[in-house]
């Protein structure tokens, strides 16, 4: 009877296990295995290079580390600028204000738009010759600020980072808003009875209770932004030169441009390890902040 019950349980688990094996575990093992080969993705034969690909990434691939730093810079802008805007807007929408539902919808429009479309529209807005931004700068009397925003190495990365923040702040807004709505109103009322003004309420009630939410938003922002690439392809293609290259673009370049599938897999694994380490640090920080 017990054996039968166990068997029945396994039968129920089998489809999920099957899917997990086929779509998660086997591809993961295969990618790890491919990372140790030199393979062009077409020939049936692969050349075993051991940890050679990983060594090349670590010691010789300067562009890979440059792309990592650039992704870090975009992530830094997203963590600060994007999340600050998301929080402030969520805080504003959480208060009693007119048309707050309208604003909630408006702020969530950018994230649901296609990244390619957003990239192309912003490329058009930021175009050096016929772009709306430069047109407005001239009309407003600032012709000295006119630039080729996406082709100038001094502005390309920051411009891409700001557009990415514009595209992504809606997610943070939504999560922050949900977090703000879970704070019991009684806490604010009690604080006011005790003589707290709006700033004190914000500092002593809102901010401490929102820390776990902020940590979660930060984790999602880091993971999402480090892996961003569609918007960048649409806006700059990773140029000028290597100035807007990010890790996923380098992986694509290894796979499509150089036909180095093994090396691309090794890059993917290295990148995955870095993301896991970052997530782990954030998780520890989140745990610590919750305990505090």
């Amino acid at each position: 009877m017990r054996l039968k019950s166990t068997l029945e349980n396994y039968i129920f688990v089998l489809p999920a296990t099957f899917i997990f094996l086929i779509f998660y575990l086997i591809p993961f093992i295969w990618v790890f295995q491919l990372g140790m080969y030199e393979w062009d993705g077409i020939l049936p034969t692969k050349v075993f290079v051991g940890l050679g690909n990983f060594k090349e990434i670590l010691l010789q691939d300067r562009i890979w580390w440059q792309s990592m730093l650039q992704a870090g810079y975009i992530t830094f802008i997203a963590l600060t600028f994007q999340n600050a805007i998301a929080f402030l807007l969520a805080w504003a929408c959480d208060r009693e204000m007119r048309l707050k539902n309208f604003y909630r919808v408006i702020f969530f429009i950018p994230p649901v738009l296609s990244e390619v479309v957003v990239g192309l529209v912003w490329q058009w807005i930021l175009d050096g010759h016929y772009g709306l931004l430069n047109g407005w700068l001239v009309k407003l009397g600032f012709p000295c600020l006119v630039k080729n925003w996406l082709s100038d190495p001094t502005t390309a990365l920051t411009t891409v980072a700001i557009v990415h923040s514009w595209k992504g702040f809606g997610w943070g807004f939504l999560i922050f808003l949900a977090g703000l709505q879970t704070i019991p109103r009684e806490l604010y009322e009690a604080a006011r009875v005790d003589g707290a003004n709006a700033w004190s309420c914000f500092k002593k009630v809102t901010i401490p209770l929102m820390i776990p939410v902020a940590v979660m938003v930060a984790m999602l922002t880091v993971l999402g932004t480090m892996q961003a690439f569609v918007l960048i392809i649409a806006m700059t293609g990773g140029g000028p030169a290597y100035h807007t290259q990010v890790p996923v673009l380098r992986i694509l370049a290894s796979m499509r441009g150089s036909s180095r599938f093994g090396y691309a897999c090794a890059q993917g694994i290295s990148f995955g390890v870095i993301l896991v380490v970052i997530s782990f640090i954030q998780y520890r920080f989140s745990k610590h902040s919750r305990q505090a």
Binding site: F18, D40, G41, Q60, S151
Partner: protein, 450 residues
């Protein structure tokens, strides 16, 4: 607690009583459907169906029309399946190659190295016997340069068995184009394009003074930079020295290579280039040129159809990139634009060969050329093509293509060179610095080969 546990167990048991008759068949069906999903998906149908995969969005209606005509003539159905954009197509073909389920006919996008890998993996049929039939009549119908792109010669560096492995459908050349109306606006003769590099730079200065946009091209996609850089490398140092560089016998720090790189710096300083050129995709470049917003374009002969669609009144002409040296002739990239290959494992090999023979025959090539404004691969129909295409065809003799060199430069070196030229254009690095950087990448790649 125990009461709750008992109730839960009872509920679980009663749910199980209901679900049990369904559970085993459900799991069984899941496996059946999973296995069915993994099957080849081939359906019973007419006697012969030739499946063709391609990426050419602009040629799809013409291909469908020809397929209909072919079925009417022979009873053989040809299914053209379009997968666009080209990046997605390329991935699909590679994935199909890995899964050994390529269609009967397909095209390969990529370098000769990739083409060679497909051949060596047995995915492509050697067409030499078919080409040589009837006193090589099929082979003779093509432009030699179009066929050369699909050919592997004796002793090729890819270790591929010599032979012809692809059928050119159309051909292309990549040249400079200039806008005749903007030439007039600059006070230049619209029928006298610049022939020397000094004249070209002089026009660049005029463009800058008139606050117009100069050359536009898809240099954000980098391979077109490589194309112009190679044109000038051939002009300055000749083919042999370029090939010696690829073999590693001449360094990229050679003065001739530095001269090639310096040309880009000179063009930038003179005002030849449009602003934003280094991140421009070719579609945007085509829009700017077609709408009279740029004086020059660097584009392939496929652009004739694109410009016609964007602005039928555009007045322009093709010209060779102005010569920077008199030592060697100016070369441009040209040869097969698009080719089809036959799956070496296909059951419909013979039918596919017959279809491609028909598709590349004179009448079908004229139809394709008229419908898509591309240069035909069949040289017998050149007298039937539009005037602007004729200008591109005239320079076919000067064309060369990396696929015909018998040796390929490493993609990492190409990337370093192309990105380096972008750095020169944006004024970030000097030609000497880029030459050093490219030489370092080349040394690393050569060390790997050893």
């Amino acid at each position: 607690m125990s009461v709750i546990a008992t109730q839960l167990r009872r509920k679980k048991e009663s749910a199980w009583q209901i679900l049990r008759p369904l559970a085993i068949p459900a799991v069984f069906l899941f496996f059946i459907f999973s296995l069915a999903g993994c099957s080849s998906g081939k359906k019973a149908g007419p006697a012969t169906v030739v499946t063709v995969w391609h990426w050419m969005t602009d040629r799809e209606p013409a291909f469908q029309e020809l397929a209909k005509k072919y079925e009417g003539l022979t009873g053989v159905r040809v299914d053209f399946e379009l997968y666009a954009p080209s990046d997605a197509y390329s991935q699909k073909v590679r994935a199909a190659a890995q899964g050994v389920n390529l269609p009967d006919v397909f095209g390969i996008l990529g370098e000769k190295r990739d083409f060679a890998s497909f051949v060596k993996a047995g995915h492509i049929l050697n067409l030499t016997p078919y080409m040589e039939e009837d006193e090589a009549s099929w082979k003779k119908s093509f432009f030699a340069k179009a066929l050369a792109v699909n050919e592997f010669n004796e002793g090729n560096s890819y270790s591929v068995k010599p032979g012809i492995y692809g059928v050119p459908i159309d051909i292309m050349t990549i040249e400079m184009l200039y806008n005749k109306d903007l030439f007039k606006q600059l006070g230049l003769n619209p029928n006298d394009p610049p022939r020397t590099f000094a004249e070209f730079l002089e026009i660049g200065r005029k463009i800058k003074a008139a606050n117009l946009q100069g050359l536009v091209s898809g240099w954000g996609e980098v391979w077109m930079i490589d194309c112009l850089a190679n044109n000038y490398a051939f002009n300055i140092m000749g083919k042999d020295k370029v090939l010696k560089t690829i073999k590693g016998e001449v360094p990229y720090t050679d003065p001739d290579w530095i001269q090639v790189l310096t040309l880009f710096k000179d063009m930038q300083e003179a005002g030849v280039f449009s602003s934003g050129l280094v991140t421009m995709i070719n579609k945007n470049a085509e829009q700017l040129f077609a709408n009279d917003k740029a004086v020059f374009a660097f584009n392939g002969s496929w652009c004739v159809n694109v410009y016609k669609g964007m602005n039928p009144r555009l007045s322009y002409a093709a010209m060779l990139p102005p010569k920077a040296s008199d030592k060697y002739p100016m070369s441009i990239w040209g040869g097969a634009g698009s080719s089809f290959m036959i799956n070496g494992r296909s059951k419909n090999k013979e039918a596919a060969v017959e279809f491609l023979k028909w598709l590349t025959a004179r009448d079908q090539q004229v139809y394709l050329s008229e419908a898509t404004m591309n240069l035909p691969a069949n040289k017998e129909c050149l007298n039937k093509i539009p005037e602007i295409l004729d200008e591109f065809a005239d320079d076919m003799e000067l064309s060369t293509h990396p696929s015909t060199w018998g040796i390929s430069e490493s993609p990492q070196v190409i990337e370093a060179l192309d990105k380096g030229i972008q750095s020169i254009i944006i004024g970030e690095k000097t030609p000497q610095q880029i030459a050093q950087e490219v030489a370092q990448v080349k040394a690393r790649e050569l060390a790997k080969q050893r």
